[in-house]
């Protein structure tokens, strides 16, 4: 017998409690996991979530990692509202990074103001283009975007690998697969001496505000969410489903591409194979945990950045395996999806005793 029954109205409380429940369960299972690895859970949580924030460098790293996550998740959330599931933001990020790097590499030595804006624009165009391919495939061949976006991520990875191994390899780089180090005109300015946090964070802040206004007030966002919630109603109203597909995938590709430009023109400072620690994938979780809401995403992006930093700290201080970061990300999404079921469903109430007795009699 099914355990759940549908609710008459979706529970608003559960909608916002679900991420908190998911965080709680993740911490609980995390504690059990630490315990079974013979690490004191209290100490582990201290190393994971408190210690990194005891230094200004820790805060700088937190913002540095949260910024691309939040930026990408804003774009993804827009598509998710329309039920366009772009899970290839990682690939769009890489192509954005490649295009931005192209600008930096070919303008190398030109100490002019336009190099950095040019990189950001090139990154945006590259990411948007990589998102436009699945949009075209979907509108012309009805190809499932979940598959095409994911597969194009592998294409982007191979493209990056070829570029840094052959045409763009640093001639003075002792054959390492990486480009030249970019010079200052191709890098975001650092905000504080000695910390890696840079001015690219303002792009994210601007994006949050723009998406907030766009999602809450624009007619286009309204059309997108109608298309996601009730495709037949969008069709009935004459809203174009093709437009929704194009907008969702191009905008989410664009934000991922800018994030990619932010990485190569920021903390990484060159084009390398390991320029993203899976931001494109983690941003999917960020978007869901943030309830697809532009401000919710800010909070969940910070949480996800903490998991990244905590995972690094855990490896160093507690000799935990590197898989611990992915494990926490996975648990968070897993428990969130589980808790989300209770937004529209609730546990079935037990039948009155009298009837149970009759049934067994």
């Amino acid at each position: 017998m099914p355990l759940l029954e549908p609710r008459a109205n979706p529970s608003v409380v559960m909608q916002w409690a679900a991420p908190l429940i998911a965080i709680g369960l993740t911490l609980l299972v995390g504690a059990l996991l630490f315990y079974s690895l013979h690490v004191s859970p209290l100490k582990a949580f201290y190393v994971f979530f408190i210690e990194p924030l005891e230094t200004s460098n820790g805060w700088s790293e937190l913002v540095l990692k949260a910024s691309p996550l939040i930026l990408i998740a804003q774009g993804l959330a827009l598509g998710f509202r329309a039920r366009i599931y772009n899970i290839g933001a990682e690939g769009q990020l890489l192509v954005g990074a490649i295009c931005a790097s192209g600008v930096a590499i070919y303008s190398n030595g030109a100490e002019t103001w336009w190099v950095l804006p040019g990189m950001v624009i090139a990154g945006a165009i590259g990411g948007a283009f990589w998102g436009a391919i699945p949009a075209w495939l979907k509108t012309h061949f009805n190809a499932e975007e979940t598959l095409t976006t994911l597969m194009l991520t592998y294409v982007a990875t191979l493209l990056l690998s070829w570029l840094v191994s052959v045409p763009w390899r640093d001639p003075d780089g002792s054959n390492f697969p990486q480009s030249i180090m970019f010079n200052d005109s191709a890098l975001f300015t650092l905000l504080f001496d000695g910390l890696r946090i840079n001015t690219s964070v303002f792009i994210t802040i601007a994006a949050v505000l723009i998406f907030w206004v766009f999602v809450s007030r624009s007619f286009t966002a309204f059309q997108i969410s109608v298309g996601g919630q009730a495709p037949a109603a969008a069709h009935y109203a004459g809203f174009s489903s093709r437009k929704t597909v194009w907008l969702s995938l191009v905008i989410s590709g664009l934000t991922a591409g800018i994030a990619g430009a932010g990485e190569v023109a920021g903390p990484v400072g060159q084009l390398t194979l390991s320029l993203s620690p899976g931001y494109g994938y983690a941003a999917i979780i960020v978007a869901w945990v943030g309830r697809l809401h532009p401000l919710g995403i800010v909070l969940s992006g910070i949480l996800m950045a903490m998991i990244y930093i905590g995972g690094d700290a855990g490896q160093v201080s507690l000799q935990l395996p590197s898989a611990i970061t992915g494990l926490f990300q996975g648990m968070l999404l897993f428990f969130l999806l589980g808790a989300d079921a209770f937004v529209n469903y609730r546990l079935k109430r037990r039948k009155p005793r009298a009837l149970i007795k009759e049934a067994t009699a």
Binding site: F219, A230, A232, A233, A237
Partner: protein, 524 residues
């Protein structure tokens, strides 16, 4: 009573020789079922004797369907008892119900279109079967009860009436002692209804009890021996329908007299509001019906009705008229402007309004507020958006005016569309479309699933709209409704449209003949 008479009586009843025939086949006592926020069945009792045709009468939302689901085991009651042939019984699930001898024909069929009649029936059998032998049984049972069926036909090639026969034969193969039919005539022509009634009377004469759920009073008077009337989840009366008038049954059902619509004369200009010229269109749905050379004029000031059973091209015609499917530019004209190539939004810009059959999911987004649902089509009204940004205050204001003007019962403009009853949501959608001041308005199944009071309000609203100079086109399966509100009636059958006749020059009988496509005439 001696054993002899006992036996012969049981033989008369046809089945179950061990039972005393005076015992009710089914008796419900004090059945109660609560859902969050509503009591669907409140202390409901009724009993059905062997061979009795018993009507359960009530309007939409009266709790009839819930009660039948409890009998059939798809829903469990919160309280009360169910006695089956005199023994207290718990029906845990539909399989248990079938094992007891309870069969149910649902209002909406559950058939696989790509399978044959026999295969569909085999799927519902709980016991192992042999397809060939089953086909023979299907044929013999269907002929015995005047429900002729070819066991090897694919279901998608069957008319709606024939599909219903498949459902009934499926039940009969299991030798039911009780047959439940939920609104079985909503998809039938008047002629097919008569044939169905013959079959049901034959079954009753063999001792099968029949529970007949309907809100159509004249059918119940014609067919049923007794009736239980429900209103708001409670039983409001037991009656012998043959001794009651439709008026007295209506009062039991809705608590007052049936409302009647007024159609005043129209004197304004009667230019053509909506015209269809020689329209042929292939259906996108592989099992859909293609439209063949359809022509139709709807003038300002009149209500034109299209009768016919759904599945005869209704969905296809609506898609072409609304712009959800585009066709040749000159095939559809709105106020003499060719619009065939325009999409739904562009046609609305030119003054077309459309109320679809599916309210939740098409006419309205279920989880969105009424205010947001107003934006679905009202965004083109002045002041609703500036530079691509929505004006939420204006939206709420629009929704509020719609709620007041069309008497929508809800908790204000912020309540979610899905929290409204069918009738109130329909009033909101119709109101939203009327408030766009359309030139032509298309309404599909305006009162489907709507209670009597709201139906009357909606019908009168459509008549009044037409008399304000709008061309109104109504597509409906309910013949009574079309005769009540329309000035002219056409019939859509198998993708072809008959000429629209003034309603004074036609009647239900001849419309019914047009409705019955070729398929049903062959077997009739």
């Amino acid at each position: 009573m001696t054993p002899m008479t006992n036996d012969s009586l049981a033989e008369l009843a046809g089945k179950a020789a061990s039972q005393t025939p005076v015992e009710p086949r089914l008796s419900l006592q004090h059945i109660t079922k609560r859902y969050p926020g509503v009591v669907a069945n409140d202390d409901v009792s009724l009993s059905v004797m062997p061979g009795e045709i018993h009507a359960v009468l009530g309007e939409n939302g009266a709790g009839k369907s819930t009660l039948m689901k409890i009998i059939y085991g798809t829903v469990q009651a919160d309280g009360g008892q169910l006695m089956w042939n005199g023994r207290e019984t718990v029906v845990a699930n539909p399989a248990a119900a079938r094992a007891l001898g309870i069969g149910m024909v649902f209002q909406h069929f559950s058939l696989f279109e790509t399978l044959t009649v026999t295969e569909n029936i085999a799927l519902a059998l709980d016991a192992p079967f042999d397809l060939k032998a089953l086909a023979v049984r299907v044929k013999s049972v269907s002929e015995k009860y005047g429900l002729p069926l070819d066991p090897y036909r694919l279901v998608h090639s069957l008319s709606v009436g024939e599909r219903q026969r498949v459902e009934i034969v499926r039940c009969l193969l299991q030798d039911p002692q009780l047959l439940i039919l939920d609104e079985p005539t909503s998809v039938l022509t008047p002629q097919a209804v008569r044939k169905l009634f013959e079959t049901l009377r034959q079954l009753a004469s063999e001792g099968v009890s029949i529970l007949y759920i309907s809100h159509k009073l004249h059918e119940i008077k014609d067919l049923c021996d007794s009736a239980t009337v429900m209103r708001g989840g409670r039983v409001t009366g037991h009656a012998n329908p043959k001794q009651e008038t439709t008026g007295s049954l209506a009062r039991m059902m809705i608590g007052r007299d049936l409302p009647v619509c007024q159609s005043p004369d129209y004197t304004g200009n009667n230019n053509c509001a909506l015209e269809v010229r020689n329209l042929s269109a292939t259906s996108i749905d592989p099992f859909g019906v293609s439209l063949q050379d359809i022509s139709l004029r709807v003038q300002r000031g009149e209500v034109v009705g299209i009768a016919g059973i759904s599945g005869n091209g209704q969905a296809e015609l609506l898609a072409v008229l609304s712009g959800e499917q585009t066709v040749g530019n000159d095939a559809v004209l709105l106020d003499d402007v060719p619009v065939g190539k325009l999409d739904a939004g562009q046609r609305r810009d030119l003054g077309l309004a459309f109320v679809p059959e599916e309210r939740l999911g098409r006419g309205a987004v279920p989880a969105m507020s009424l205010a947001n649902n107003a934006m679905l089509t009202a965004h083109r009204q002045a002041g609703m958006k500036h530079y691509g940004l929505l004006n939420y205050a204006a939206t709420r204001e629009f929704a509020k005016r719609c709620i007041e003007r069309f008497d929508v019962r809800c908790n204000g403009a912020q309540s979610a569309a899905r929290s409204l009853s069918g009738g109130n949501l329909q009033k909101f959608i119709v109101g939203r479309e009327i408030m766009q001041s359309p030139k032509a308005m298309i309404v599909a199944q305006p009162t489907w699933g709507v209670d009597v009071g709201a139906s009357a309000f909606l019908r009168q609203t459509l008549i009044d709209l037409s008399r304000s100079g709008v061309g109104v086109l109504v597509i409906s399966e309910e013949l009574d409704e079309l005769f009540e509100i329309c000035d002219r009636i056409a019939v859509l059958s198998e993708g072809k449209l008959s000429p629209a006749m003034p309603k004074e020059q036609t009647n239900a009988e001849s419309i019914g003949l047009l409705m019955a496509g070729k398929a049903e005439k062959e077997v009739a």
